[in-house]
C-alpha cells in the first residue's frame, strides 16, 4: 500500500508545469486577465489608470460592489440568486437619509438600525426561498420591485442629503498617518507612512502564509503548485500590494472603505475555506439532497445565506449613500447585475457548489477596472455595456469549455 502511494507521488511530481497550468487555468487565467486588462488601460489612458488618485477612486467606486459580491458568492454557491440587492442598496440609503436628515438620528443609531433592516429584508426573502421552496429568482425579483418602490416612497421622489461628516467618512474618509516618522526616515515630502507599512506587512503575511500552507500540503501529499509558479504568483501579488499601498500613500493614504472591504474579504474567505459553516454551504450547493441526508439543515443554511446577503447589501447601501452624500431614489439601480456578473466572472457556477471569494473579488475588479478605464478613455456608455456583456459571456464560456475538456 505504501509503495503504491509512493508511486503515485512520483507520477504527480513528475508532471510538467504545463500540465499543472492546464489543470488550474481558471485560477491563474482570471488574475492574468485582470493584469492584462490593467496593462491595456494603463497604456490607452496614458498612465492615468494607475495614478494615485485614480487607484483611490477605483477602490471607492467598487467597494460596495465587492462587499455585495462576498454575500452573492455565498448565495450563488448555495445554488440561488439574489436580484434584489440593487434595490436594497437604494432602500437602505434612503432609510439612512430619512433617519439622519429628517429625524436627526445620530450615526451610531442609524448605522446599526440600517444593518438590522438589511438583515430583516434578507430574512424575509430567505424565509420564502428556504422554507417554502419558492425559487429565489422569483422571490428576489419581487424584492427588487418592492424595495425600489419603497425607496421612492420613503424619499417621496426627492433626493435627501447632505449627511453629517462622520457618516460621509464611511466612504470618503481616510486612515490618518499613524506612523508619521516613516516619511522622515525615507525623507519623502508627501507620503502616508501607515499605508506603506500596512502594505508591506500584508505582503509579508501573504508570502508567509503561502509558504506555511505549502509545507503543510506537502506533508499530506496534496498536489502542490510547482515552485516556479509559487514564486511568480507571490511576487506578483505581494508586488501589486506594495505598489498599490505606495501609490495610495502618496495621495491621501488608505481609504476607510478599503479597510472595511479588505477585512470583510478576509473574513469571508476564511469562512468559505476553513469553517464547518462554509463547507456546508458548498455541499448544499453541490448536491442539496446528499447534504440533507448527511444531516445538514439545508433550509436553515439557505435562510442564513440570504440573511447575510441582506446585511451586506445594507452595508453597501450605507457606503454608497455616504459616497454620494445624498440619497436618491435611483441609487443602486442595476447594481445586482454588476454584482452577479462579478461572481460569475470570478468562476462561480450557476448550478451551485463552485466558486471562491477571491475569485469574486477579482471578478469585481475586472468589471471595475473596465468601467473606470473605458470612462477615462471617453468610450460611450453604450459601448461600455456591450463590452462588459461580452466579457461576462466570454468568462463563462471559458469556464464551461474548461470543464468539458477536463471531463
Amino acid at each position: 500500500m505504501a509503495s503504491e502511494s509512493a508511486a503515485h507521488q512520483d507520477v504527480r511530481q513528475g508532471r510538467s508545469a504545463g500540465q499543472y497550468l492546464a489543470n488550474h487555468l481558471r485560477d491563474y487565467g482570471m488574475v492574468l486577465a485582470l493584469i492584462a486588462i490593467m496593462a491595456f488601460f494603463q497604456v490607452t489612458t496614458d498612465g492615468t489608470l494607475l495614478r494615485p488618485v485614480n487607484i483611490t477612486n477605483l477602490f471607492l467606486q467598487n467597494s460596495y460592489i465587492i462587499i455585495m459580491a462576498l454575500g452573492m458568492l455565498l448565495v450563488i454557491v448555495a445554488g440561488h440568486i439574489d436580484l434584489s440587492v440593487g434595490s436594497v442598496v437604494g432602500f437602505v440609503g434612503a432609510l439612512a437619509a430619512v433617519m439622519m436628515v429628517n429625524w436627526d438620528w445620530s450615526i451610531y443609531l442609524t448605522i446599526p438600525s440600517c444593518l438590522m433592516v438589511g438583515i430583516l429584508i434578507g430574512a424575509a426573502q430567505g424565509y420564502w426561498i428556504a422554507y417554502w421552496r419558492i425559487p429565489s429568482f422569483i422571490v428576489t425579483l419581487a424584492g427588487m420591485l418592492v424595495f425600489r418602490g419603497a425607496s421612492l416612497w420613503l424619499l417621496a421622489g426627492q433626493s435627501v442629503g447632505p449627511f453629517p461628516r462622520q457618516f460621509q467618512a464611511l466612504s470618503t474618509g481616510f486612515i490618518p498617518d499613524l506612523l508619521p516618522f516613516v516619511k522622515t526616515v525615507f525623507s519623502v515630502e508627501r507620503m502616508n507612512g501607515f499605508a506603506v507599512v500596512t502594505g508591506l506587512v500584508i505582503a509579508g503575511l501573504i508570502v508567509w502564509m503561502g509558504l506555511r500552507s505549502r509545507a503543510r500540503n506537502r506533508a499530506y501529499g496534496m498536489v502542490t503548485e510547482p515552485m516556479s509558479f509559487f514564486i511568480l504568483r507571490n511576487l506578483l501579488v505581494s508586488g501589486a500590494i506594495v505598489f498599490v499601498s505606495y501609490k495610495l500613500a502618496t495621495f491621501r493614504g488608505l481609504p476607510n472603505v478599503l479597510i472595511t472591504m479588505g477585512v470583510l474579504t478576509i473574513i469571508y474567505a476564511f469562512i468559505t475555506e476553513s469553517t464547518v459553516l462554509g463547507r456546508r454551504i458548498y455541499a448544499l450547493g453541490g448536491n442539496e439532497k446528499a447534504a440533507k441526508l448527511s444531516g445538514i439543515r439545508t433550509e436553515r443554511l439557505t435562510f442564513l445565506t440570504f440573511v447575510n446577503m441582506g446585511m451586506l447589501a445594507a452595508l453597501a447601501g450605507l457606503i454608497f449613500a455616504a459616497r454620494l452624500n445624498t440619497a436618491t431614489p435611483k441609487a443602486g439601480v442595476s447594481f445586482e447585475l454588476d454584482v452577479i456578473a462579478a461572481v460569475f466572472i470570478g468562476g462561480a457556477s450557476m448550478s451551485g457548489g463552485v466558486g471562491k471569494i477571491v475569485g469574486a473579488v477579482v471578478g469585481a475588479f475586472i468589471m471595475g477596472v473596465m468601467n473606470n478605464g473605458m470612462s477615462i478613455m471617453g468610450i460611450g456608455i453604450d459601448y461600455q455595456q456591450v463590452i462588459k456583456g461580452l466579457v461576462l459571456l466570454a468568462a463563462v464560456i471559458f469556464d464551461v469549455y474548461n470543464k468539458n475538456k477536463q471531463s
Binding site: 502511494s5 503515485h8 503543510r216 496534496m222 446528499a290 448527511s294 439543515r297 457548489g353
Partner: protein
C-alpha cells in the same frame, strides 16, 4: 403459428459487465409471452435491445421480426414496425390532457397546426377500445395509475401496435385495476396483438401467459408452456433463482447480542398522493453484531421504510416509534437521527450520497464535520488524516484523497459513501443496495467491511434486491411486500424459494 419475433444469441456488454450472454427469445404471433427473472437478470436490457434503445451494432446477435432481419437504430424505427414498449415508469406528461398525451410526438396536425377535432375524435375511439371512460381533455395527473396505464396502452394502439411490451404493468396497480388490465390484454390478443409482459407476479403470469421465458444472470434458462395446469409457480421460481453461491461471501461467525434498534408500528403515507399508504405497520429489530436483511421487489417499500426512519427523509404522516439501546430515539430530522446513532447508506449514491464535484476527503467528513473541526474551524490536517485512514483501511483505489469522487468507479464511490457513514460512528447502519452496480471484487470487499462492522458490535440492516447476497450475508431476513413486512426468516430457515414464495403469494 409462426414466430413474430426471434432474438438469437443476443449478447450485450457494458463496461466491465456482461448484461446479456447469448440470450434467445422466440415470441409466436398472437401469443402473450411472459418474461420473468430476478431484478438485474437482464429483462429490461433485453427489451431495450429489442426496441432500439440500444441501437443495432451496440450488441451481438440477430433480431428477426416478422420474418426479416431487423436492425433498429432507435426507438422510432422499432415503433414504425409496430413494436411498442410501455415502461414501468410511465412516460406520460402529467399536466397534459389524455388526448395530448396520446398523440405526443405523433400529433394530428396539418402544416404544424394541431387538428383538435381529429385528435379528440381519435382519442375517444382509442379510449373506447381500452375500456376507459374518461373525457379526452382530462389531465393525466387527475386519473389514477391504473387508468394511466390504460392511456399508455391506448397510446400504443394509436401507433398500430403489433408487438406490445409491458414492463411490470401491474406492480403499482390495485388488484381490481390489475385484473382490468389483464382482461384488456386478453382482448387485444383476440384482436391479433402479440404481447410480451415482464412481471414478478407469478399468479398473473400463469393466468394470462401462453408461454414463459425465464432469464437469469443474463442468460435464457428455459422457455416453458404456461397453458393448462402443468406449470407450477415452484418450477418457475426454481429456474429464476437456482444458482450456486459458493465462496462469494466472506465467512463470519454469527453471535447476535442485545437489541440495538427497534422499530414499532411504523406507518408512512406517500408524500404526494396522500391517500396512498406506503408503509403499513412495520415492526422490526436489529441486534448488536447482527446483519438483518430486508428482501422484496423494487417498489415494495424497502427504501421508503429506511428513508422514513432516517430523519423522515421520505413520506408524510409518519407514525411509529424507534428505540435505540432500549430508549426512545428522536429521529425526527437527519441530524438527530445521526446523533441517535443511525446512518443510512443510500441506494442512489450519485444523487443522494455524494457531492460529485467535491473531493473524496470532503465527502468523507461531510456527515461529521465537527469531528475534524474545533470551534467551527476545520483542521485540514485532521481531515486529511481521517480520509487517508479510510482510503487505506477500506482500500479506496485512488492516487489520493484530493480526487473528485465523480471521477471514481462505482465500487470506489460506494466505498467513499460507506466511509462517510463509518466516520459518523453510528450504532446501526442501514445499507440500501450496498453493492448495486459494482463489480464482484468490490462486492466482496464491501461484504468484508460489513462483517467487520458487526464484529465490532454494530448492527446492520441491509436492503438488497439480490437474494443470494441476503442469504450469504444475513443472520435474519425480513420479507417485504407492498409496504408490509410479510415474513421473517432466520438464516437457517431462509432460502431463495421461501423468500420468493413469501413475495409472490402474499
Amino acid at each position: 403459428m409462426k414466430p413474430l419475433l426471434e432474438m438469437r444469441s443476443i449478447t450485450k456488454t457494458f463496461p466491465g459487465v456482461k448484461a446479456l450472454n447469448a440470450v434467445n427469445l422466440t415470441v409466436m404471433e398472437g401469443e402473450i409471452h411472459a418474461l420473468v427473472g430476478e431484478n438485474g437478470a437482464g429483462k429490461s436490457t433485453l427489451m431495450k435491445v429489442l426496441s432500439g434503445v440500444y441501437p443495432s451494432g451496440s450488441y451481438e446477435g440477430e433480431i428477426h421480426y416478422d420474418g426479416q432481419l431487423a436492425a433498429f437504430s432507435g426507438i422510432r424505427e422499432s415503433e414504425a414496425v409496430g413494436i411498442i414498449i410501455i415502461h414501468q415508469e410511465l412516460a406520460l406528461v402529467p399536466l397534459l390532457s389524455i388526448a395530448e398525451n396520446l398523440f405526443i410526438g405523433n400529433e394530428r396536425a396539418r402544416n404544424g397546426v394541431v387538428d383538435w377535432h381529429e385528435t379528440f375524435r381519435r382519442t375517444e375511439a382509442l379510449l373506447k377500445k381500452v375500456g376507459l371512460s374518461e373525457a379526452p381533455g382530462t389531465l393525466v395527473d387527475r386519473i389514477g395509475v391504473g387508468k394511466q396505464q390504460l392511456v399508455e396502452i391506448a397510446k400504443a394502439l394509436s401507433k398500430d401496435v403489433r408487438l406490445l411490451i409491458l414492463d411490470e404493468p401491474t406492480s403499482a396497480l390495485s388488484e381490481k385495476d390489475s385484473q382490468a388490465l389483464l382482461d384488456l390484454l386478453t382482448e387485444l390478443k383476440a384482436q391479433g396483438v402479440t404481447s410480451i409482459i415482464i412481471s414478478h407476479k407469478l399468479n398473473e403470469v400463469r393466468s394470462i401467459a401462453d408461454r414463459v421465458t425465464v432469464i437469469r444472470d443474463g442468460s435464457t434458462i428455459s422457455t416453458l408452456d404456461a397453458r393448462g395446469e402443468a406449470l407450477t409457480e415452484d418450477r418457475i421460481i426454481r429456474d429464476m433463482v437456482g444458482r450456486d453461491m459458493a465462496q462469494r461471501f466472506p465467512a463470519r461467525e454469527s453471535k447476535p447480542g442485545d437489541i440495538l434498534m427497534e422499530v414499532r408500528d411504523w406507518n408512512v403515507w406517500h408524500p404526494e398522493h396522500s391517500e396512498r399508504q406506503v408503509i403499513r405497520n412495520a415492526c422490526l429489530n436489529v441486534r448488536a453484531g447482527e446483519v438483518v436483511g430486508i428482501a422484496g421487489l423494487m417498489g415494495s417499500g424497502r427504501t421508503e421504510l429506511a428513508m422514513s426512519i432516517f430523519g423522515r427523509s421520505y413520506g408524510r404522516r409518519i407514525s411509529g416509534e424507534v428505540f435505540i439501546d432500549g430508549a426512545p430515539a428522536d429521529v425526527s430530522t437527519v441530524d438527530r437521527s445521526i446523533a441517535s446513532g443511525l446512518a443510512y447508506v443510500t441506494e442512489d449514491r450519485k444523487h443522494l450520497g455524494l457531492v460529485l464535484d467535491d473531493t473524496i476527503q470532503r465527502n468523507i467528513t461531510l456527515a461529521n464535520l465537527p469531528e475534524v473541526a474545533s470551534m467551527g474551524v476545520i483542521s485540514e490536517a485532521r481531515e486529511v488524516r481521517v480520509a487517508e485512514g479510510f482510503r487505506k483501511a477500506i482500500n479506496i483505489r485512488t492516487p489520493g484523497v484530493f480526487q473528485k469522487v465523480g471521477n471514481l468507479s462505482g465500487g470506489n464511490q460506494q466505498k467513499v459513501v460507506l466511509s462517510k457513514w463509518l466516520f459518523a460512528d453510528p450504532k446501526v447502519l442501514i445499507l440500501d443496495e450496498p453493492t448495486r452496480g459494482i463489480d464482484v471484487g468490490a462486492k466482496y470487499e464491501i461484504y468484508g467491511i460489513i462483517n467487520k462492522l458487526v464484529a465490532d458490535g454494530k448492527g446492520v440492516l441491509m436492503i438488497s434486491s439480490e437474494l443470494p447476497e441476503l442469504l450469504g450475508m444475513c443472520d435474519r431476513i425480513y420479507v417485504m411486500n407492498e409496504g408490509a413486512l410479510v415474513g421473517e426468516l432466520t438464516a437457517a430457515e431462509a432460502s431463495q424459494e421461501r423468500i420468493m414464495s413469501f413475495i409472490v403469494r402474499s
